[in-house]
Symmetry: C2
Subunit: 440 residues, 2 copies
Amino acid sequence: MRLSRSFLPTLRETPKEAEIVSHRLMLRAGLVRQQSAGIYSWLPLGQKVLANIQRIVREEQNRAGAIEILMPTLQSADLWRESGRYEDYGKEMLRIEDRQEREMLYGPTNEEMVTDIFRSYVRSYKELPMNLYHIQWKFRDELRPRFGVMRGREFLMKDAYSFDIDEASARRAYNRMFVAYLRTFDRLGVKAIPMRADSGPIGGDATHEFIVLAATGESAVFLDKRALDTPVPGDDIDFYGDLTPIVSAWTEKYAATEEMHDKAAFEALPEENRVEARGIEVGQVFYFGTKYSEPMGAKVTGPDGVDHPVHMGSYGIGVSRLVAAIIEASHDESGIIWPESVAPYKVGLINLKVGDAATDLACDGLYERLTNAGIEVLYDDVEGRAGAKFATMDLIGLPWQLIVGPKGLASGEVEIKRRATGERESVSLDTAVAKLLGSS
Amino acid sequence: MRLSRSFLPTLRETPKEAEIVSHRLMLRAGLVRQQSAGIYSWLPLGQKVLANIQRIVREEQNRAGAIEILMPTLQSADLWRESGRYEDYGKEMLRIEDRQEREMLYGPTNEEMVTDIFRSYVRSYKELPMNLYHIQWKFRDELRPRFGVMRGREFLMKDAYSFDIDEASARRAYNRMFVAYLRTFDRLGVKAIPMRADSGPIGGDATHEFIVLAATGESAVFLDKRALDTPVPGDDIDFYGDLTPIVSAWTEKYAATEEMHDKAAFEALPEENRVEARGIEVGQVFYFGTKYSEPMGAKVTGPDGVDHPVHMGSYGIGVSRLVAAIIEASHDESGIIWPESVAPYKVGLINLKVGDAATDLACDGLYERLTNAGIEVLYDDVEGRAGAKFATMDLIGLPWQLIVGPKGLASGEVEIKRRATGERESVSLDTAVAKLLGSS
């Protein structure tokens, strides 16, 4: 993408309303713009990051056997009366009346609706296990929306729902999502640790939160150092094999947020293994048995010929929140440092002297070669001072910068810079292309 | 995807509430499920078709130089007061009050919001032309939602908005979208004709509707036969070149919906060129000048150093509606006939004797070979009668069926069927694979 044909409104000044670093950087780098309290437009760079995160989340859900559907944003209040949550949910639920005076709501989550879909079609245990997920906008009318998309009102969530004939099978479904989450966050380039958690309004007796470690995280976390070195399964993982050893390797090591912290258990660890850190919740998995299937009549005929309410779990990932969480975990004083898997572009190509024939020619050629090889390049082809160009590229945090100016070109060289380390190297044009094609 | 691990709830009976063929087929083929009046969940097959349509729409928007963003579903009423449309819009606009008693609405379209984004960042004519688009759910509180997703309340729309310094430049932006639409609908496998249209509540003086021709279409259309043979530009089209000849080739031939029909002009055509048909609106393009930029203060400094309100256009495609429109244009009495570009899977692989070792082995092998070659296959690996399997495959309308049974295998053959023509052929396994890899 040529910068001259793009729309990348970066800000020089730090917006006053932004209290945390990800919010400041998202506004400054032109990823989002606030439209109302806790409601954001995603500008081109932000939209691309959001799409990259969705793609990885989707690939890992599919790999784990979950099936994608898409439920609407608006729901009928009657459905929520069936589970008893319509009254329980309080003011965070945005209640709406349509022109026919029907009571509706903007879905904050989808347990009721997916249970309704399930009960409408599925009759036999033979169709199980089943896991349905969608990636859709949700709304929670937070009293004090803040911290940008970290605690927004309209937010994008991936939510999956598993249906099984009994608890043993439901635990296997839980484990599949647990492992899918390990893989998902790993691919997104963040260190996320599953931690003991409280089940809150979803209900249920088994639940883990996945917490991204970040020095600027919202809450204190306590963990066994060895959790940091526990391996994440590769993409040859068999989701229909026994996942218990993998899950146990994580859950048997102490890891808890402040709310669930068990001081005695933590202090029983050898001192050198006790890690106190900060983190941001980016996902949560729940097993809640028949909490919804029982009142809503979601039953299947078992092998015994008898109807059983299905055992369910639900599994959320905060997709829009992840954009902020990744930034909290990966930035420096100059700006964002995108992990390559989610970066809006892999390479920022900087033309230091727009209008200079040789420099333009070299840049155009590099842009074409990289683009034709399938590499996403943001090409700064706009006149401007070198200092401002460097500052903008550092701010928006693309993994690689390719810097081209008349001086270097005179000796056949361009500069290549790795954003994460600041490392710079002068190389020939061919070497630069080869390096960018080869790096991952 | 193995059918045994999928979720494809087809219905035997025709649902009573469905009045038009696309609605009936979408319910029977398990593409959607109604959740409330005019509000649908997209089940796995429907979700995949919707995703395929979005991908093609997005590719052609990008090719034409439009830039993707993502605006939220909920908007502030104040923004709509600036343009004067908050009062004008009437009961189709879903008005919402949040917990702080702020007036919000579920966006039926985004002229105001995108104008707000534009005026917040863009100052100079040098940043123009600019075209921002998004693909997002919208809501229109129809008095009588019906015909399934054809006239739903919550619907998915692609809407683009162009910003230009003057009318001449805005007309070029209009032409770019006009040509992008020709290409988009062509790639989606439907015949869509741009027709003279009424500008309605968007306002403006130049507008065309794009109408998909379908015998079961909602409205009568009148056109010059030669419009049917006007060529659609290939993917080597230069969107920054002069598109006037292409646009004129379409617009100079008579084509109008009933509302805009000019009987005298139509009857001036030679009789053999007069075509009366039926059609479905799937897109509309508008040029409306400074209707929003003037009251909302979206101005840029021109080359003359003076501020000018920008000239705008907007360009919609009904993404969810297209799923129904494509079905209206492409079905027979047995079910849907998906154009290959939007089909949820390219091939339906039917195992006629699940449990028979040789048949299972052959099917598993074909499934693996095709899948590894990047072809999307729905593999019916579930026990059932041949007749029911054939009926379901015909109903869901995948372009190709690959039918494998013990009888054919005994002589080394499988059957390959093209859904659109019903043509069947017995061929070797290798020939079948080669044929499916080669076909487009």
